[in-house]
Amino acid sequence: AVGPKGIFRVIERSEQWSVGELEPEDFGAIRELSMNPIGDRIISAFFSPGKETVDFASFVRILAHFHPTETSRSRDGVQPEPANSRTRKLKFAFQLYDQDRDGKISREELLQVLRTMLEMQVTEEQLQSIAERAIQEADLDQDDAISFDEFRKVRGVDLIRDQIDNWEY
């Protein structure tokens, strides 16, 4: 878990990359990330739309999404959703698809992700048919796009919801 030692390590690593604010290029220092097909999207998730740098506090706040989910609730009852709740984690994944942040995954956005995950391994027609089938299965209100609620209900995503609790960093 990212306890005090983890934060120390994160500080050390971001010092390795640059001083002060992080830029997208700095993440290039992580080799395994450069090799990840959706690496660029994960990197851009750390930056607010329109901004080109992220300061350390925001960087850590976003990483905090990935702390293991607390399963116990306090006795207060109504509480604001903690940053590392499952929903936040799912939302992060949703935004990997929904780059323009309009709350829906359009056909084009889905195609883009498929393209980065598969690139030259499949033809354009194959990509189109994969995307077509995925949307048909997920799109419950027939508006030709996948909203966050539809995303959560997709078979596969709902199964992941339970596993997300145990993702440990």
């Binding site: 080799r31 990330l33 090799m35 698809y97 690139e119 199964l159």
Partner: protein, 439 residues
């Protein structure tokens, strides 16, 4: 005032006496008085006691996190197929794309931001338990008074007793090396010259090793590199050269530097044929290869010492071997060097410390304890290309030392990843979702 000077001179005499008779003379003959051995035994006992105390302290303070052996993430492990299978929980049809597949890449991506396999190797290894040196102190909480007192004593002993001794030895060792090799260089080529040059090199390296309180154990000495061969080893620090040269003479390969190093290099090459390159020559791989080939072909010359990783790695793993050294031909003698991290961290993090501060840190550690294994010689087999041969040798070295065998290139310390790696990932994923050729 004069009494003071008289006293100082007397102390100096005693000091030089101790250094000469108790350390240098034995070094020349390859003997040891066993003092270092006793010192190491005592140290081991103290460190074990300290470990127990810290463990007891940890039980009482459960907030102190326990270090994981390979970074700070607990991995479930497995290939892309296995992990995706787990994420899909086996209930989805094989060979179909699912919106949830992105979670695999997303999880891996974020994990690598927090801690990845390559960057880890370029910082010092983390110890399971603190070894009473402030520099390895990652998680120190105050545990007990006794521990702190021992630590304080340790600081005192290391800095005021051991450090001056080591500096003296190192200075003597290096200056004798320069003077000795220059003198031997005046002799004409003959077997006497070779014998003398070996003696000078060995003696001075042994003195330097004492200057670091190095305890070296050589295993399987029957496999020691022979003349006309190439010795290949994993690289952790420039001190590797001293460690290996304590047991035999090697022809070194490298760039000519300026300054003190340059003086050393130029004088050494008079006495015995090392292979030094100008900076411009290093870029020309063919020139380098042909010089090395010529050296190896003359079977009477000393074995060449090469570190195929090309850079210093932190001694927990072996990174990709550059195939250039394996194209030269001749017999390869692999050697594994493993440092015991409890006594001092030998890894040279060149981005953090320069050479001088690194050496100072070395001289103020407890000691350097090394295990050197000579592996049986290997030659390139038919049908094997240089890269495959290099990997074979690398695996043998990693296996012997209990190091992780990584396929990553040490040059990544400074450079970027090739696109072919990303393609690999894409290929793997596409084969998962196109099972049975139906999409």
């Amino acid at each position: 005032m004069e009494d003071f000077w008289g006293l100082a001179v007397q102390l100096l005499h005693v000091w030089m006496f101790v250094v000469f008779f108790l350390i240098m003379l034995p070094a020349m003959f390859g003997l040891s008085l066993g003092v270092t051995g006793v010192y190491i035994q005592v140290l081991v006992h103290i460190l074990e006691w300290a470990t127990l105390r810290i463990q007891r302290g940890r039980q009482q303070q459960p907030s102190v996190p326990v270090p994981l052996p390979n970074g700070i993430i607990e991995h479930a492990g497995g290939s892309m197929e296995e992990e995706m299978g787990r994420l899909r929980s086996g209930s989805l049809a094989e060979g179909k794309f699912c919106l949830s597949d992105v979670f695999y890449f997303y999880k891996k991506g974020v994990e690598s931001i927090v801690d990845d396999q390559v960057t880890q190797r370029f910082s010092s290894e983390e110890l399971n338990s603190w070894n009473l040196l402030t520099r390895t102190n990652q998680n120190f909480r105050y545990i007990s008074l006794r521990l702190t007192v021992i630590w304080g004593l340790g600081v005192f002993v290391r800095y005021s007793v051991l450090f001056p001794l080591r500096i003296t030895l190192a200075t003597i060792g290096l200056s004798w090396l320069v003077i000795g090799t220059i003198l031997v260089g005046f002799l004409p080529e003959s077997s006497v010259k070779n014998w003398l040059s070996e003696l000078v090199h060995l003696t001075c390296y042994r003195i330097c090793a004492r200057g670091l309180s190095a305890t070296i154990v050589y295993h399987n000495r029957e496999n020691k590199p022979q003349k006309g061969g190439i010795c290949v080893a994993n690289h952790t620090t420039p001190i590797d050269v001293v460690i290996l040269s304590n047991d035999g003479c090697y022809a070194m390969v490298g760039q000519i530097h300026g300054g003190l190093m340059g003086v050393l290099q130029r004088s050494m090459v008079r006495a015995c044929p090392h292979v030094w390159f100008e900076r411009s020559e290093m870029k020309d791989r063919h020139a380098v290869a042909s010089r090395l080939r010529a050296h190896v072909a003359a079977k009477t010359k000393l074995p060449i010492l090469i570190f195929p990783e090309g850079t210093c790695v932190n001694n927990t793993s072996v990174m990709m071997f550059k195939k250039g050294s394996f194209e030269i031909g001749g017999t390869i003698y692999p050697v594994t060097i493993k440092y015991d991290a409890r006594f001092g961290d030998a890894f040279w993090n060149s981005s953090k410390y320069n050479m001088v501060s690194y050496l100072l840190r070395m001289m103020t550690s407890w000691a350097i304890v090394v295990n050197v294994w000579y592996l049986p010689p290997m030659t390139r087999q038919d049908g094997e290309d240089a890269a495959q041969f290099a990997n074979r040798v690398k695996s043998a070295i990693a296996h012997q030392g209990g190091l992780l065998d990584l396929a990553w290139d040490g040059g990544l310390k400074r450079g970027k990843v090739k696109d072919s790696f990303k393609e690999e990932q894409q290929k793997q994923y596409s084969s998962i979702i196109t099972v049975g050729n139906i999409i």
